[in-house]
């Protein structure tokens, strides 16, 4: 019997998941990132404290458990926030940036209207204590975000990218119209957005979709009197620019994101596969002034994409049959000889 949204992963699927996760974690490890593990049960007040209003972490979407003393615990609905709390309570100052990686499940009541997934494996990184301008930190994160997928030779994958400062400036210039326009685009209502924002208004530029990213960027800078110089650098950098789509119509959560914001799109996979960005004000909720940037891959969607493109053959291992000998010692010897040669065996 299985409950809706709580899937049992059978051996073939687990092997694929472990293979992909381990390749990703190797990549992060090679770049100086270290593992962190967050408790499954957390104080439910943690998420209120962070004053974080993302739809994923709303209390109504969080599983709550009553502790022995009557207080409420939450099954972790997110990893970045508990990591922020843990790092804030351990460090007063960071003499150099912290690089962390994780691969853990989060638990949420269904986030999507038509989907039941309640347990979601996330693999990702956090770079804490480095501003956007420090040692190319945004470049590093974006490179790792891209490489996480490209190392598997994934096709038809694109990264849509924007800067949350674009919407912030739009709302500053046109407080009421800007906020309403943001709300409409965030919920995907392009029809109401076009009815609200006159055709020649500067905010209409946010719908620009041009194959030339730099041309779109120049138009946005002009319309909103903004300097997006570092985003221009990202969009023109050889190691990053391929398959990047500058999309000013993306609506990052402005309570959370403070700089670049990006997500991975794969043609044929209806969901966003991975998401990331800069959230420099998150640590202030825990009394620290640590800038931070990071990303998370949603592993079920990522695995689905890799599987559909038949890129998981490396995860398939063959198990050979070993006929049992007349006694255990001989059987063990034969088994060990096979294992030494790198073969997996099962005694039959």
């Amino acid at each position: 019997m299985s409950n809706a949204g709580l899937r049992t992963w059978m051996p073939e699927d687990v092997k694929k998941q472990k293979y992909v996760t381990s390749e990703m974690l190797n990549l992060y490890s090679n770049w100086g990132y270290q593992p962190i593990s967050i408790p499954t049960l957390l104080d439910s007040k943690l998420f209120k404290k962070a004053n974080f209003t993302s739809k994923w972490v709303e209390e109504s979407k969080t599983f709550l458990v009553v502790d022995k003393d009557g207080s409420l615990l939450a099954l972790r609905p997110d990893l970045t926030i508990p990591i922020a709390q843990a790092i804030s309570s351990r460090y007063d100052k960071l003499s150099e940036p912290l690089r962390l990686y994780y691969s853990s499940s989060v638990f949420r009541h269904s986030g999507k209207s038509t989907d039941n997934s309640r347990k979601l494996l996330q693999t990702g990184v956090e770079l804490i204590g480095a501003k956007a301008s420090d040692n190319f930190s945004d470049f590093e994160i974006l490179y790792l975000f891209k490489e996480s997928a490209e190392q598997f030779k994934l096709q038809e994958s694109y990264i849509s990218i924007t800067d949350s400062g674009i919407w912030r400036k739009a709302i500053e210039l046109y407080p009421e119209l800007g906020q309403e326009a943001y709300n409409l685009l965030a919920k995907g209502d392009l029809i109401a957005f076009k009815e609200l924002v006159p055709e020649k208004h500067a905010l209409r530029k946010l719908l620009l979709r041009d194959a030339d990213n730099l041309k779109t960027l120049a138009e946005i800078e002009k319309a909103l009197k903004l300097d997006l110089g570092y985003l221009k650098e990202i969009l023109s950098t050889d190691s990053l620019k391929e398959n990047l789509i500058f999309d000013p119509s993306l609506c990052p959560n402005l309570d959370y994101y403070t700089g670049i914001y990006f997500n991975l799109l794969i043609d044929g996979i209806g969901d966003m596969v991975a998401i990331g960005g800069r959230y420099d004000s998150l640590y202030q909720a825990f009394g620290k002034d640590f800038p931070a940037v990071g990303f998370a891959y949603y592993m079920p969607s990522f695995l689905k994409a890799l599987q559909e493109q038949k890129l998981l053959s490396a995860a398939e291992s063959k198990i050979g049959n070993l006929k049992a000998k007349s006694n255990w010692e001989e059987t063990l010897k034969a088994a060990q000889e096979n294992i030494k040669k790198g073969k997996s065996i099962a005694i039959k």
């Binding site: 038509t114 995907g188 029809i191 979709r209 044929g268 996979i269 209806g270």
Partner: protein, 208 residues
């Protein structure tokens, strides 16, 4: 972008003809669905770029939200009821109707006269709940899958929430409109990823 065709989910039933006409107006050469070749087909090729997916109206947003279809056509009532995370692209201005609260003729003049705990039969449970909550009316939703007009007639419910086009069905069953929740027309909408990755095709379609 891949060579996979852009898949458009369109609803069976009342909105089918209008959907095909709208797609034709947007520049697509629509095949004859009644031809021997296409009859009973659920996936109908249009040309090298597009194919049609013929599904039940309420299922269109589900196909699109999950990415099983890139684009879809459905009434705004069905889109909002599904709460699907999609991008609404264009009002196709056909299939005009209203989502209304209706009751037995002469029984309630306005929603302020409804019983203290109103039983509501409907195929639109989410939109109904939202409306009654907004107006502070204590209520109970009875989720039906069709012929909701029978609700008040069989005392299953006090009122119904249903789509009203000409009002003929209401009249025949001695029912009338008490209040209008929203005006509805059919809309073209897209999967959030397809909207971003198939933009030249989508832009061509919505700007033609």
């Amino acid at each position: 972008m891949s060579e996979r065709k852009t898949r458009i989910a369109i609803p069976k039933g009342g909105l089918l003809e209008g959907s095909l006409d709208s797609l034709a107006k947007l520049g697509l050469e629509i095949p004859d669905l009644k031809s021997k070749e296409n009859e009973r087909k659920l996936i109908v090729p249009v040309n090298d770029e597009y194919e049609l997916l013929i599904v039940r109206g309420h299922d269109v947003p589900i196909y699109v939200e999950h990415g099983a279809a890139d684009l879809g056509i459905a009434g705004v009532d069905v889109i909002l009821e599904s709460n699907a995370d999609i991008v609404q692209l264009k009002d196709l201005e056909f299939g005009a109707c209203k989502l209304c609260v209706c009751g037995k003729k002469g029984e309630f003049k306005s929603i302020s006269e409804l019983p203290s705990h109103t039983r509501v039969a409907t195929t639109f449970p989410h939109l109904s709940k939202e409306f009654f909550q907004k107006h502070g009316i204590s209520h109970e939703i009875i989720h039906l899958y069709g012929s909701v007009e029978l609700g008040p007639l069989t005392e299953l419910s006090d009122v119904i929430v249903d789509l009203v086009a000409t009002g003929e069905t209401l009249k025949k069953n001695n029912l009338e409109v008490i209040d209008t929740i929203m005006n509805c027309t059919a809309r073209l909408f897209a999967n959030k990823v397809s909207y971003r990755l198939r933009n030249p095709l989508i832009d061509k379609l919505i700007n033609s």
